[in-house]
């Protein structure tokens, strides 16, 4: 058995306990080191803001538990390795009160966490909880295939139909949306599974063969946002990069009209 201040004992306690300390330091430095949420670190959509809020809530709770359990672990290791050789370990088979405490309290915290998440989930995925604007603004069908995103817009002033229409407009790898209001896309895939992932808006939804899945999101500001694939879809999975272009709301209709003219300018209209 060890002496109470042996170098060996101190080294092992140091070794086992330095890593949670480092983990906490690195985690706290993460935003400065640019390893946190992508690009600006702020969510580019209101729903993403809610998700970030829930993330930080869980991070704080789990962070406290992580630090607390490691302090407890460090303390019991410190004392258990410091017991004089002739003093026996504490003979106990457990403690009913403690068991109850550490069952009920974490249980309540976990239940709270579970129920606290539900509203955001409902908002994102349960159609009855969608924002009204998202129900009305169905702006495009996004059709994934190996390894690109095909986008079909209805003609200006018309609604998106399930079947392609003669005056539909098409684009590849660039989804144009108005900023500042929720819009819905219909997500489909032509071949294998893909996943529609907007990292800066915290949006993700798999595209499943045979299903049409509505996905709504809202770009807070005009700008360009990355769109990537998050479900393994073959060797070129990593290449499925595209972008969402959010236009200022007042310019969006004009942009769509210009696109329509460009796509339907067959050279005869001018005559």
């Amino acid at each position: 058995m060890q002496g109470s201040f042996s170098v060996k004992r101190l080294w092992w306690i140091f070794f086992l306990m330095i890593w949670p300390v480092l983990a906490v330091i690195v985690s706290l430095l993460t935003p400065q080191l640019q390893w946190g949420f992508p690009l600006s670190g702020q969510s580019d959509s209101p729903l993403g803001g809610e998700i970030d809020h829930l993330f930080y809530l869980i991070l704080i709770i789990t962070g406290v538990v992580f630090v607390g359990t490691h302090i407890a672990l460090g303390y019991v290791i410190w004392t258990a390795s410091n017991r004089p050789g002739d003093r026996r370990a504490w003979y106990t088979h457990g403690n009913h009160k403690l068991e109850m405490t550490w069952t009920i309290i974490p249980g309540l915290i976990l239940l709270f966490l579970a129920f606290y998440q539900m509203r955001t989930w409902a908002e994102f995925r349960m159609e009855e909880a969608y924002p009204d604007a998202a129900k009305q603004n169905i702006i495009a069908e996004v059709n994934a295939r190996q390894f690109e995103w095909r986008i079909r817009y209805p003609a200006p002033g018309k609604g998106l139909q399930r079947k392609p229409q003669l005056d539909d407009m098409y684009g590849v790898n660039e989804l144009h949306v108005p900023a500042g209001s929720p819009v819905t896309i219909h997500l489909r895939t032509l071949d294998v599974q893909h996943s529609f992932f907007l990292p800066t808006m915290r949006i993700k939804q798999d595209a499943v063969p045979g299903l049409v899945i509505p996905v709504w999101f809202e770009a807070s500001e005009p700008g360009e946002y990355p769109l990537v694939c998050a479900e393994l879809c073959g060797w070129g999975h990593y290449k499925m990069g595209a972008k969402v272009v959010a236009h200022p709301p007042e310019e969006f209709d004009e942009f769509m009209k210009t696109m329509h003219q460009a796509q339907f300018n067959d050279g005869f209209a001018a005559e």
């Binding site: 890593w19 993460t30 946190g36």
Partner: protein
Amino acid sequence: MTSETPANSDHSTEDTHSHHAHGHHQSFITKYIFSTDHKVIGIQFLFTTILLMLVGGAFALAIRWQLAFPNTQMPFVNKAFFEASGGQITPEFYTMLFTMHGTVMVFLVIIPILAGAFGNFLIPLMIGAPDMAFPKLNMMSYWFMWPAVACFGLSLFYEGGPAAGWTSYPILAALYDAAPGSGFAQTLWLMGITFVGVSSMMGSVNYMTTIINMRSPGMTFFRMPLTIWAMFITAILQAFALPVLTAAGLMLIADREFGTCFFVPAGITVNDAEPTVGGGQPLLWQHLFWFYSHPAVYIMLLPAMGMISDMLSCMCRKPIFGYRPMIYSMSAIAGLGFIVWGHHMFISGMNPALGMTFMVATIMIALPSAIKVFNWIGTIWGGHIEFNTVTLNSIAFVSMFIVGGLSGIFMAAVPVDIYIHDTYFIVAHFHYILFGATLFGIFACIQFWYPKMFGRMMSEPLGKLHFVLTFIGMNGTFFPMHMLGIAGMPRRYANPYLHEYLEHLLPLNQFMTYSAILMGTAQILLLINVFGSLIWGKKAPRNPWNSNGLEWVAPSPPPHGNFEEIPLVYRGPYEYSSPERTDQDYWPQTERENVSSPSTTTV
């Protein structure tokens, strides 16, 4: 009956099992190859899985190389493996690498090393049985691993290899045209999974029967060590979950080879091939696959939890804190484990209402896990520990399990999962569980039960050095993955830096790769320690750790039939430092009176 001295003296280097036994002599083949002795089978599983771990590790290092130095020449191996692509890892090769890394590590390393190696070796010894209930079935369970290894190995020689990820989601895995790796290699992969499943199933039936029927007199259910409880619960999990995977695997094989369409919807055009017919549903595969593979996560963890409990109690010279709460929480994990599979599918397109129920069940499964952590800390509390390799690895298990358990809550919360699903955050999470917790547990187990397996001690300095390097490498590799996930780096990208928002993560990835190389290199020490100690290890006494379990009553290594006489059990396995016992701080389960000589010794 003989004493233990001759058992050790006729112990030669390749001899993993002493000769004197019950007097019936066997040929080399029946004794070491097609053996029906649970100890030999356990050791066969151990060596096989350790070697396959090197294969899986090599895949992992290649993955890490690509993520740190994308499309640059690999050192040492580029001539041998990547001649055609100019020494680079091509994207289709990369998909094969992570597919096979996952497959090998999950199906050929973690599951068989826990249930196959330690389950086999320990169950009869710890419950006082001479062998398993069905020794021949046991032998077949080991030998059914080899067709699986052959299938997986063969699949690597097809173009692209199996490349649909270890989860093999259809459509990618269902149609030959879907990807370079979706050819016959994928069918071979599915056959491999089926063989592994059959192997595990034979093991699980055997474990359940043995534990229920073959406990020695006095070994009541609530006197069983937690290892046995964990193995028992694991066996039940396997028995109920595996048929679903096997059925799903055969359905997917039928889809691929016989033109059925369980998983393939109509009108899908993949890679300019003919449009598909039929009305299948790809989500069905995900449900069936995760209905097995989520319980499988606990199959990969529960045995380690049980064994850690036994080792911590012995190393702290203290009864386990909360024996019954430990059993109840393991049962709760197993029970809840069957109703949480949907958390792998939150964003898969299944009915969103299911997301809510699966979330509640998943978040609540953190509760029994938390109870177990508190009880482990309680076990160390007031104990009397010495920092040997077993203690260190066990404490690392608890510490890493805390991280892995807590990071799981992020994925369980559906809205947060929308963002971090299929990013590196999940990769960090399950590596903290499977490497951080389970593998450190396994390192501790190897060190702890090695003397019983081979009659020799493993080297302490080597074990400690291996622990230090692995611990540093492991945290350096996997902790930053949380950051990558938060930064939005998706999994399974052959080159993430193609995307502007991920470019700045390259230096972090390089750091992780250096850590992974350190971690991989450190496993050489494990190999030296495991195989070298067969030759150079100090001779082990019967009970080197002064432990209470029945396995320590048998000679080291135990002869065929294990015990010299049937051990009688008088108490639970955790009577350490009992005040009723003044002469020693442990009280073996077989000792009735307060005497120093074990009642079963007939010397």
